[in-house]
Symmetry: C2
Subunit: 242 residues, 2 copies
Amino acid sequence: MVQESPTFSPLYRQIKGLILQALEAGEWRPGEAIPSETELAARFSVSQGTVRKAIDEMAADNLLLRRQGKGTFVASHSDPRAFFRFLRLVPLAGGIEPSTSVPLECWRAKAGQEAARTLGIKLGDPIIIVRRLLQFSSKPVVVDEIYLPGETFAGLSLDVLKDSHGSLYSLFESRFGVRMIRAEERIRAVAADRATAELLRVAEGSPLLSVERVSYTYGDKPVEWRRGLYSTADHCYYNDLG
Amino acid sequence: MVQESPTFSPLYRQIKGLILQALEAGEWRPGEAIPSETELAARFSVSQGTVRKAIDEMAADNLLLRRQGKGTFVASHSDPRAFFRFLRLVPLAGGIEPSTSVPLECWRAKAGQEAARTLGIKLGDPIIIVRRLLQFSSKPVVVDEIYLPGETFAGLSLDVLKDSHGSLYSLFESRFGVRMIRAEERIRAVAADRATAELLRVAEGSPLLSVERVSYTYGDKPVEWRRGLYSTADHCYYNDLG
DNA sequence: GAGTGGTCTAGACCACTGC
DNA sequence: CAGTGGTCTAGACCACTCG
């Protein structure tokens, strides 16, 4: 028999799409609870088990967070758990260290070829560039240079950055409504230039990690391109090959 | 009411434990199919749905591989998919490159403090050290120094390494019955020493990635400790922050 | 067509949270 | 205690693979 449905998509995936759509439309805010499984089942006229499977996948994708007895919540970058998902840096000595982000500069520019291609915008479109220092236990460890599409992050300035307290993604989420879902990192080893060396308090020419990251929001839309230079004198990039 | 089961474990997790046990005991070899869900359900006297959930988790853990219409298979390092799970190196230019492993040295030694602690063996226990070069498109990219517990890998020699064709883990799996389940990597930037620089054909002092890895087999038992030095002239370490 | 995994349902009951 | 997610079951049916 001819295969009649080459694009077969099970019901639970369609439900997942609908919930995703509601999430993207902002029907529920990050940190808030979404309706219970039974309510959603009624809303979409499917069984609770089907809703359950949809939510299961979204929880695995880190879009939702299940808490037994309480409900299902929209994942948020304000949650401390989200922090280490995007910053895979741990102290060599072990333990946990307090970190602070120190904004250095923030300026407007026009997208060059590489930035435009990476961010999926047009050549010459406005972009915002942020430079900031990341400290652990008050010692400088990372210098980041961050490229953002100007349209999406209109209103971002050095003052806004200085006034914010949580992580950068937490700010993006609450102030600009942009939720980072996923990111890709490409890591290389480079020699420290003079300016970076001074900031990180290492010798010029010291080996540093160059961590290039592209972050995506809903619909796999790229919304951030950044390059971090990591001093690995007292820290290392940790990766779990599950 | 007093909580009577503080160590509550759902049935499907117990089933998972039983299947894991059978897997560990070698009841089915890597690449082979395990019994169908209905057979396992009968064997353990539970419903098919419960077995299904156990297998779901094990598939998510990369221990099993489901193939619709065919069966469920024991994951194997001979599977090309497993290769990139443990070597997160991609060409800067994109595309796929043929890789070859060139064994350089293989000798016996006694475990020092660090090796003993990392591998969970006693100080002075026999270990095997392997040095090898990894090439992509016939160009040297990685130098690995690999520490293995001598007991587990008795019989390993330079000749054995030279005779093997697939990946190292594929050899460990088929010849020594050791399956790597999971690994942790810690990445730093270092300067190339003279010997390494020559091997990788870069200048002495060039920045390299130092990738330290501990690999675990069943029961989270560490069975490999390695340090790789990666030249990132034409390649980078790729990481997906899902 | 037989056998496998994959989906969907409906219902019962359990574990956890908070009032 | 009511409400939430979590488990377990049994059965029907679908999609895929292979002989």
